[in-house]
Symmetry: C2
Subunit: 392 residues, 2 copies
């Protein structure tokens, strides 16, 4: 095997994530590494926490980045809040609700599954029925923005139902944070996890989380030890907690945290509500182009995420070949369907830094060209004009 330094191509990332990373973030990531207990680093941690609170719209003290990808953020929520023997109601309307079930089972708890059609939001009426049927339940878990389908659920209503039945609510906000309205305190979310590589446009590998006072109370009063040492918040809190005296837990991923910090600075500069509006605006133009092409969306408009577009396929087209052509000819990455959705949709992300006018036009143009070249039954040559008109 020949060994040499790795020089990746310059792609435009418009799949389900990672999304295009702002060059400012890449530059921040390459700054000199310092120690994880260095006083200068500790002050950066404080600023990171504060900006993350702003991004989540929360005052939760326990708001911090987990030193591992979103899947570990998910697991951090479950292993800390769920104990063996507990009952957890899991609302599933896509791949990631299924992962929640896996997490519940591995905690030795019983998942009660509520199923909704993929592409639809979670149905609050079904949750209410389940809560009535299972008074023993202690926790409700659902995905705010399903990355596998592009559907958003009404988090505020679902959390309220959970609380009405004395349950805490765990919310997956991997794809929503920074792209769609998400209000942790106003909606009284108890535990939330997200990823850096979606609408924050940071490099992947870190999972922002936040926990309410009620969640912390439950964690502190557990009857059993948290099954994960790495993710045990009783220990992690001592490192990410308040005050100058940080207790060593694990070695923080210093440079990844530089990147995360910079992504939050960028979000702070734009303002969270402006970021939501930008995602919506670019989605509207993209939608105009997709529809002008004669293609459609998998999710009803009322529940459609602006940052993750599940586009239905033209008849008789090898969708993987289209993605390969986009990647090889235009250095453009879009995503295929995940799990049961494989071969049925494309997932086209307009997330974070990648959600901009240039990308909308480029993606529509490239898709138009590749599909036309393959003889797909579309209205060729109209998409970019329609998007331009929508941008106005």
């Amino acid at each position: 095997m020949t060994v040499s330094s790795f020089h990746p191509p310059q792609r435009t990332l418009m799949g389900p994530g990672p999304s295009d990373v702002n060059p400012r973030i890449l530059e921040a990531m390459s700054r000199p590494t310092i120690g994880h207990l260095d006083p200068v680093f500790v002050s950066m941690m404080d600023q990171t926490k504060s900006m993350l609170q702003d991004a989540f719209l929360t005052k939760n003290e326990l708001t911090m980045p987990v030193s591992a990808p979103g899947s570990a953020g998910m697991e951090t929520c479950f292993v800390n809040l769920v104990e063996p023997g507990d009952t957890v109601i899991v609302c599933q309307n896509g791949v990631f609700g299924g992962r929640m079930k896996e997490n519940v089972e591995r905690c030795g708890a019983t998942p009660i599954m509520i199923q909704d059609e993929w592409g639809s939001p979670v149905d609050p009426a079904k949750l209410e029925d389940a809560l009535k049927a299972h008074p023993e339940a202690s926790t409700v878990a659902f995905v705010h923005a399903e990355t596998s389908t592009g559907a958003i659920s009404d988090a505020e209503t679902l959390v309220k139902l959970a609380h009405d039945h004395d349950c805490l609510a765990i919310v997956d906000a991997v794809t929503s944070l920074g792209g769609s309205p998400l209000k942790v305190d106003e909606w009284s979310i108890d535990a939330i996890y997200s990823g850096t590589q979606k609408c924050l446009s940071c490099t992947p590998g870190i999972s922002p989380v936040s926990f309410s006072e009620a969640a912390i109370e439950r964690i502190k009063n557990r009857k059993t030890a948290v099954q994960s040492w790495f993710m045990d918040l009783n220990l992690v809190m001592a490192y990410w907690g308040a005050g100058a005296q940080r207790a060593y837990h694990h070695t923080a991923p210093i440079n990844a945290l530089y990147a995360f910090h910079e992504s939050l600075v960028i979000l702070h500069e734009e303002g969270i509500e402006n970021a939501w509006a930008r995602h919506d605006r670019n989605h509207q133009a993209f939608k105009a182009g997709i529809e002008a092409m004669g293609l459609g969306f998998f999710v009803d408009e009322a529940y459609r995420l602006p940052q993750l577009n599940a586009v239905t396929l033209p008849e008789g087209i090898d969708e993987a070949a289209v993605r390969s052509a986009l990647l090889n000819k235009y250095n453009l990455e879009i995503g295929g369907g995940l799990g049961p959705m494989a071969g049925k949709i494309w997932r086209i992300g307009l997330m974070g830094h990648a959600s901009n006018e240039t990308n909308v036009l480029m993606c529509l143009g490239a898709l138009d060209a590749v599909l036309t070249d393959m003889g797909a039954k579309i209205d060729s040559g109209k998409a970019v004009g329609a998007a331009m008109k929508a941008f106005g």
Copy 2:
């Protein structure tokens, strides 16, 4: 709170890790992010696995980086190889053996602790006694190079004893990989984890691991599900396994893996045995300087790690004030003692990229100056000359 980009100072990192990162690695980390299922990325993963096999001196197929810090690499080994009800013999001679105990307990297994004095290696005779007394034990776990004390244990002998008693051996090589002789296949180690931020001089956040065929056999034949979804090797293997068809598990920390890849390219260029020799040579010169100053080492020469020097303190000196002075005046980070060793030793790392002649002389000079300035009872002004003489 004022929000602004974070610009860290340029430190020289000679603590217990993170160690100084080679600028080539920081530059690699800032290259454009691509998708985690991009064919170009997958080929980089293959090269990473192959170079990591070389670094561990193993042909183990399941050799890969865990997408989280060393603590998660440790937990990956335990949660996959240990089941509830198992008995695990844990050899402790420092802080990190204690973490192994925590991991065993959280897997629902029983730890049998063998204690050796901190600063001493693990005693094979005690392990043998424990193995005889506990024929029900299925696993032996120990730390190869204790980061809390700087002592190395005889991994080959300890693994052989484990195998003689039908146990698998889990080895912590966080501080040894790349700095001290470590031969996974020759010593028949079953499960090993390390960190990137020690003798590989990479940014922290990734944990290289490797598993023998016997370990994989055990994982595949578990009676219970692995308690962690994120760390379940049955799932992770499908992403890091052989073949072009990678199954999505979690989003890999793309840029952190660029950095890790580059650190392995650098190690490949130097050659693993040359790296070991370099660590030893720089330690010898450092030792000459420390002894010329009238200071000593906590660990006997026979068991002393060249990459992590536990230096005893001069009488009546506020050791934390010395570290602060080094940090503030010379931008030099050295470590204090961890746990019960706090206030009793300094931990001075000569790891990876930081193990070089310049750092040895600079650190000795700065330490000499700070201690002299504080009126410590040392032989002032002799350390650097002694090290120069040792370098020859």
